[in-house]
């Protein structure tokens, strides 16, 4: 018992060492899995990952120890994380494919975090995240192409447009529940996607082409990024931009989780009627969850549009919404770290399954079903709320 207690409360030095080592290990693993390009190496790395999760499952104190360490030295944790994120492109170097995967993974992480407010915190199904993502992308792309509005201005405009959309879907959410609500959001998603596919001013099925690259302080994002004489490919610009957005999303998630809003969402998840009896305005908090989701998703959509400079309705289908939902469930509902891991894993995995060539989508489906059967609570289950005190 004594040993367990000391493990739960590590010393400062031990905590710092653990924090730095674990983050470096995580980064190395990410680097390796991005780098490898053969079927067997991928399988080996996945087996390693599986072993890691098996250990976490069998020895739950590891997770407790990790959480305690991170909480003990928050500054070290954050600085290490920042250094890892900032330094990553330097190791990747000129491998633009790796950078591309990282950017897409970061954008999906933002989308998954956005959906997590609803699915994870409040247990509201939403299959329209793909649509909010699409609205963000189309609004900003149309503004940039037709009116020459700069990227930085389109960001808030797109977010506002999508938030409005979030309110519009949120209103029927006050009346329907569960499966019926899921269908309402599916319907909204399909309507938006079909409209984008049919309107002539959105380019129809061909989409929008030639979205200009954003620029900041005279530096165009289409140019290579030069830092201290290191020349990074142009994708690095978007890598840092998306990383910044992920940070914004994480901070938002933490602040909301710690606020009355997050508490109200959790109350909704636990029992809607009990929440109402406690004086929580159920309808308002449900609609708010939709709005926050749409707001963040639109940011991701805007960056995506300017990054690939070409968008079409195919990028925002029902299956995209399902993918985002799968990321949240696989990562672990209402667990910010888990959701990000889920997003990275599910973005990178299908790409790495290219070794299986044509069978990768099949394989992907099988993996998801198997995962939901074996570990339905997600990789990192939600943790108890702690209010500073030791349990």
């Amino acid at each position: 018992m004594q040993a367990r207690a000391s493990l739960a409360a590590p010393g400062k030095a031990a905590a710092a060492a653990f924090t730095i080592t674990s983050q470096l290990c995580g980064a190395t693993f990410l680097y390796l899995i991005l780098r490898v390009d053969g079927g067997w190496q991928v399988v080996g790395l996945l087996a390693l990952l599986g072993l890691g999760f098996y250990l976490l499952e069998r020895l739950p104190w590891i997770a407790d120890y990790a959480m305690a360490s991170f909480a003990r030295v928050p500054l070290v944790t954050m600085i290490t994380a920042a250094v890892v994120v900032l330094a990553f492109p330097f190791f990747v170097g000129s491998n633009t494919y790796m950078l591309h995967l990282l950017i897409v993974a970061e954008l999906y992480a933002v989308l998954a975090l956005a959906l997590n407010f609803q699915l994870g915190s409040a247990n509201i199904p939403n299959f329209a995240t793909g649509a909010s993502y699409g609205i963000g992308a189309y609004v900003s792309a149309l503004l940039a192409i037709n009116f020459g509005v700069s990227f930085w201005l389109t960001l808030p405009v797109a977010a506002l447009a999508a938030t409005l959309f979030g309110f519009i879907i949120g209103i029927p959410s006050m009346r329907t529940r569960d499966t019926y609500l899921a269908l309402v959001t599916i319907a909204f998603g399909v309507v938006v996607q079909q409209l984008l596919n049919n309107f002539s001013w959105t380019g129809g099925p061909n989409g929008l082409v030639g979205i200009p690259a954003p620029s900041l302080l005279g530096h165009s994002f289409a140019d290579p990024l030069v830092i201290f004489g290191w020349k990074l490919p142009s994708q690095a610009n978007f890598y840092y931009l998306s990383a910044a957005l992920v940070v914004v999303a994480i901070v938002t998630a933490h602040r909301l989780h710690a606020s009355r809003i997050g508490l109200a969402w959790n109350a909704l998840r636990a029992d809607e009627i009990a929440a109402r009896a406690q004086g929580i305005n159920v309808a308002w908090f449900k609609v708010l969850a939709f709005a926050v989701d749409a707001f963040l998703a639109a940011f991701a959509g805007t960056i995506y549009a300017f990054y690939v400079s070409y968008i079409s309705p195919d990028n925002f289908t029902f299956l995209v919404s399902v993918t985002i939902m799968t990321m949240v469930i696989v990562g672990g509902m209402d667990n910010v770290f888990g959701v990000i891991v889920g997003a990275f894993l599910l973005t990178i995995l299908p790409e790495k399954l290219r070794a299986f060539a044509d069978y990768r989508l099949l394989f992907f489906g099988v993996v998801i079903i198997a995962f939901l059967m074996i570990r339905p609570q997600g990789l990192f289950p939600q943790r108890m709320r702690r209010y500073g005190g030791d349990l």
Binding site: P172, D178, L183, V184, F188, V191, Q194, L362, I368, M373
Partner: protein, 305 residues
């Protein structure tokens, strides 16, 4: 004008019957298991491929033309799809019976991906569309100058027959009674000595076989089948079941007719309606659920505290 009206009326009823058959499967499975079987559309759309494959195999093995063998291949395919449904339940869906609703939804969406990919890989040139013959050809009768095909008649007769059989089965046979009991309350049904495993097997077989019929009729109506038809078939069938009220058989039929109705109306009276038809369909779905949150014929359950 009258001709157009009759023509569209025939189209509406044909399509409505097909959607209703799809919706019945969703509704039946939801009613008994409380699980949304989102890959039901994909299961249904395996039927045309199995039929084509069987007919082809029989034709090469025993001679004679492919259409001649369809008579045998169609019932075999319906049977096979029913068994596929039972198998999927046993391997996958059963495990999500008591899980949160979203888990089952995501798992069955993934299952749908798996089924589509399997069709694509197992069927020769599965990525391409394949022509599917009309099950019956020729014109049956004429109503005010409009020829009504045997096919439209077949769809209606088949739907009426299947729905009647299902109704009789659920109301008047012991197994039907057990299915209804399990759908009302699974735990109490178990306490009354009803083996729920059997009930689930029967439900999945019936739902999938009816879905297979719908899939065959759909492919026959469109004249073509493709591995990814299941997505739309699933979405439309699911929508029909939900706006009718999940778990309600008359609701599923009503939902199917409504969805088909709005689709035909959009195609006939709106310029460019064919490309906007899904927009109209799903706007209607949203509207119905705003005013009737549990579907048109669904029971509103008051939750006790």
């Amino acid at each position: 004008m009258a001709e157009l009206l009759v023509q569209q009326l025939v189209n509406w009823i044909t399509l409505g019957c097909i959607y209703a058959l799809l919706a019945i499967g969703f509704s039946l499975i939801f009613g008994v298991l409380n699980v949304i079987h989102f890959s039901h559309g994909d299961v249904a759309m395996t039927a045309p491929f199995i039929t084509l494959g069987l007919a082809q195999a029989l034709a090469t093995a025993l001679g004679a033309s492919i259409p001649a063998w369809l008579v045998l291949a169609v019932p075999l395919a319906v049977l096979a799809v029913g068994l596929i449904g039972v198998l999927l339940d046993k391997v996958v869906i059963r495990r999500f019976r008591d899980a949160p609703a979203m888990m089952a939804l995501v798992a069955t969406v993934a299952l749908g991906i798996v089924i589509r990919e399997l069709i694509r890989h197992l069927y020769p040139q599965g990525s391409n569309p394949h022509a599917f013959p009309r099950l019956v050809s020729g014109m049956a009768l004429e109503i005010s100058g409009v020829a009504v095909s045997w096919f439209a008649l077949l769809v209606v007769v088949l739907t009426v027959a299947l729905v009647t059989m299902l109704f009789v089965f659920l109301r008047m046979t012991p197994l039907g009674l057990r299915i209804r009991a399990a759908s009302e309350d699974r735990i109490v049904a178990r306490m009354m000595g009803i083996r729920d495993a059997r009930v689930f097997r029967a439900t999945f077989f019936i739902a999938s076989a009816i879905g297979a019929t719908a899939g065959l009729l759909f492919a026959s109506y469109a004249g073509v089948t493709r591995f990814d038809f299941g997505v739309m078939a699933g979405l439309l069938g699911f929508s029909a079941a939900v706006i009718g009220g999940l778990g309600s058989m008359p609701g599923a039929i009503l939902g199917g007719l409504i969805i088909a109705g709005i689709e035909v109306l959009a195609q006939t009276f709106v310029t460019d309606g064919a490309s906007y038809r899904l927009v109209f369909v799903f706007l209607l779905v949203i509207a119905v659920l705003i005013f009737r949150p549990a579907g048109l014929l669904g029971r509103t359950v008051m939750e006790k505290v």
